[in-house]
């Protein structure tokens, strides 16, 4: 170990970012899509991911699909297959964990890995370890990743954005000034438009100018999160890797858009009912309960109308929530108006075990329902999600979320193997058919 290395990498943090991840998963599944402009998000009506071939034609995330068809009629538009994306995502984490257990699963297509101290174990430099991880990922997953290696998360993230796709950028601390000088503040992870504008008022345009400010000035001028960014830009770890993953939730939201929009109260209510059921499923999985419910309806012209409700006791049983929502639904729902989405949020979640009894004994009624839903969850584990659902969700369940071409489902669900069901499939990505 030379002195230089110690100075350049007091810590060695790697950021790994899947290139156009959802679209790349689609191409990995189906080789006939290689080299073509592929877009995912058909069911949402907007682009959720686009291959680099599509990006080169000017297609960006969030663009309406009607726009995509105009810009590029030959673009291949696919419905999202989150099941496959999740399988690929888990594989990404697993491959990185072959090298280090210190992995932060930052999002479905990104993770951080701490490689500090592993040079002896692998008899490789940090850059070589990173290259080995990249090689494994690309070989086994059949898609490319961009990576950044540096001493902190913020600098590593700057590295992975530096060259994309299929890039690998090392930012040793001794070279960091060059990189920061070329980086406008807004490109730094965690700095948004407002903060960038605020910094500019103080004459700061580049990340380097910000990093070079003295500590007293930074403490005086910006709030704590930005002070931490300043530390990270200077190579000092302020943001440790969160390797534990999510342990709980503050709130759970479920929102679904449906097409075509509907003015049918019963249909809209059943969409809401389905969201409530789904939110409760998630709450039960984490053993959480909520007494503060927010629900809303979204109209065709994107107006929201909602209501906040407080229950007498925290719950994760959908009946408890539906009872009050049904009561107040007519106050929100206006006949003759087209609705396109419903949503529900269970807020102020707390441990379901510690929920208090209420004065008038409605908790006792809930106790019985709790047993029922223990069985419902058991059935779902065995037969797949929504094996059993409430009658009030029936209409929503029956028709799926989207009619028409937005209702396209991923291939994976269309041609199952013998023994697979509509609700349960093998936990392994399929590459389609082969002759």
């Amino acid at each position: 170990m030379s002195w230089g290395d110690q100075v350049s990498y007091p810590r060695a943090i790697l950021h790994i970012d899947g290139d156009a991840f959802f679209a790349a998963c689609e191409v990995a599944k189906n080789p006939s899509l290689r080299g073509k402009p592929v877009v995912t998000g058909k069911e949402r009506g907007i682009v959720s991911a686009a291959t680099y071939e599509a990006k080169r034609l000017g297609i960006k995330r969030g663009v309406a699909l009607s726009e995509v068809r105009k810009i590029c009629p030959e673009a291949i538009i696919l419905p999202s297959d989150y099941e496959t994306y999740s399988l690929f995502s888990n594989r990404m984490y697993a491959i990185v964990r072959r090298y280090t257990s210190a992995v932060e699963e930052y999002s479905i297509d990104e993770c951080f890995a701490d490689l500090t101290g592993l040079r002896r174990t692998f008899r490789m430099s940090y850059a070589e370890i990173a290259q080995a991880i990249k090689r494994d990922l690309q070989r086994e997953l059949g898609m490319t990743f961009s990576m950044g290696l540096s001493a902190t998360k913020v600098l590593a993230k700057l590295g992975s954005k530096w060259e994309k796709p299929d890039g690998f950028t090392c930012i040793p601390l001794r070279d960091k000034e060059q990189f920061l000088a070329e980086t406008p503040c807004i490109k730094v992870w965690g700095i948004g438009g407002n903060t960038a504008a605020y910094l500019e008022k103080h004459g700061i345009q580049t990340a380097l100018q910000f990093a070079n400010k003295n500590e007293a000035w930074v403490r005086r001028t910006v709030s704590k999160p930005y002070f931490e960014l300043w530390q990270e830009l200077n190579g000092e770890v302020a943001l440790e890797l969160d390797t534990k993953g999510r342990e709980s939730y503050q709130s759970i939201s479920k929102t679904k858009t449906f097409t075509p929009p509907s003015a049918d109260g019963q249909f809209v209510f059943s969409q809401l009912s389905k969201n409530i059921e789904n939110a409760c499923i998630k709450a039960r999985r984490w053993n959480l309960a909520s007494g503060d419910i927010y629900f809303f309806l979204k109209t065709q012209d994107f107006r929201y109308r909602g209501m906040e409700l407080r229950l007498s006791h925290p719950t994760n049983v959908p009946q408890d929530i539906l009872r009050v929502v049904r009561e107040h639904f007519p106050r929100i729902f206006r006949p003759g108006i087209l609705y396109r989405a419903t949503g529900v949020t269970l807020a102020k979640l707390r441990d379901a075990g510690s929920a208090q009894l209420d004065l008038f004994g409605s908790v006792l009624k809930t106790e019985g329902w709790k047993k029922v839903f223990e069985s419902v969850d058991g059935l779902s584990r065995k037969y797949g999600k929504h094996a059993v659902f409430l009658g009030s969700s029936f209409t929503a369940m029956q028709f799926g979320t989207h009619l028409g071409e937005r209702g396209d489902v991923p291939d994976r669900t269309r041609d199952p193997f013998r023994g697979e069901t509509r609700r349960k499939r093998l936990a392994i990505p399929t590459l389609g058919s082969v002759s």
Binding site: P31, R139, E140, F417, L426, T430, L431, G432
Partner: protein, 187 residues
């Protein structure tokens, strides 16, 4: 254990020897040694104690080991350790989980290799592939499953396991994507 045997037991625990008749008289609060003898004989008949060749008392088991309790006969329940050396079907079929994929077979080009239409093949993406393996190759951006072969000049080609199909000598776009490691068929 009755009161009398218990007292002998306590004595034995404390002194690591059996009591004499005189000591038993005090222990049991008897007035005569014949009464002691009567009680001792009863305990001997019950097998709780015994006499050695010289007539001195010894614990019930001549070897001096203590019976700690009865053990139910039968097969013990399977211990954790016994199940350390077994694997699940997942591990068996996909030993390298992260690089494994499945495909559905269409057509009969590999019928002589025992791979039928509708079968599931499990494949692995690897760094290198060898002639003789059944591989998934993309030829003109379509997946095809064939034997990977090498001709005398050292060029790779793809061979079907069915005489009806000609071998494929790929020209431009030919890439081996994965190797078949298992075929699964459910009935």
């Amino acid at each position: 254990m009755d009161e009398y045997a218990k007292k002998i037991h306590q004595f034995y625990e404390r002194h690591r020897r059996m009591p004499s008749f005189g000591e038993l008289m005090r222990l049991w609060s008897y007035r005569t040694k014949s009464a002691v003898d009567y009680r001792v004989n009863k305990l001997i008949r019950e097998g709780r104690i015994a006499k050695d060749k010289t007539g001195r008392l010894v614990p019930g088991n001549p070897e001096g080991t203590r019976v700690l309790g009865l053990i139910e006969a039968g097969f013990p329940s399977p211990a954790e350790e016994e199940l350390l050396d077994v694997m699940s079907f997942d591990e068996y079929l996909t030993p390298n989980k992260e690089s494994s994929y499945i495909l559905k077979v269409k057509g009969d080009s590999m019928i002589e290799a025992g791979i039928h239409s509708g079968d599931m093949v499990i494949v692995e993406r690897r760094a290198a592939y060898k002639p003789g393996q059944i591989v998934i190759a993309s030829v003109d951006n379509e997946y095809t499953m064939k034997y990977l072969r090498k001709d005398k000049k050292g060029a790779h080609y793809l061979e079907a396991a069915n005489k009806k199909y000609k071998s494929i000598y790929p020209r431009e776009s030919f890439r081996v994507e994965a190797v078949v490691i298992a075929v699964v068929r459910k009935y």
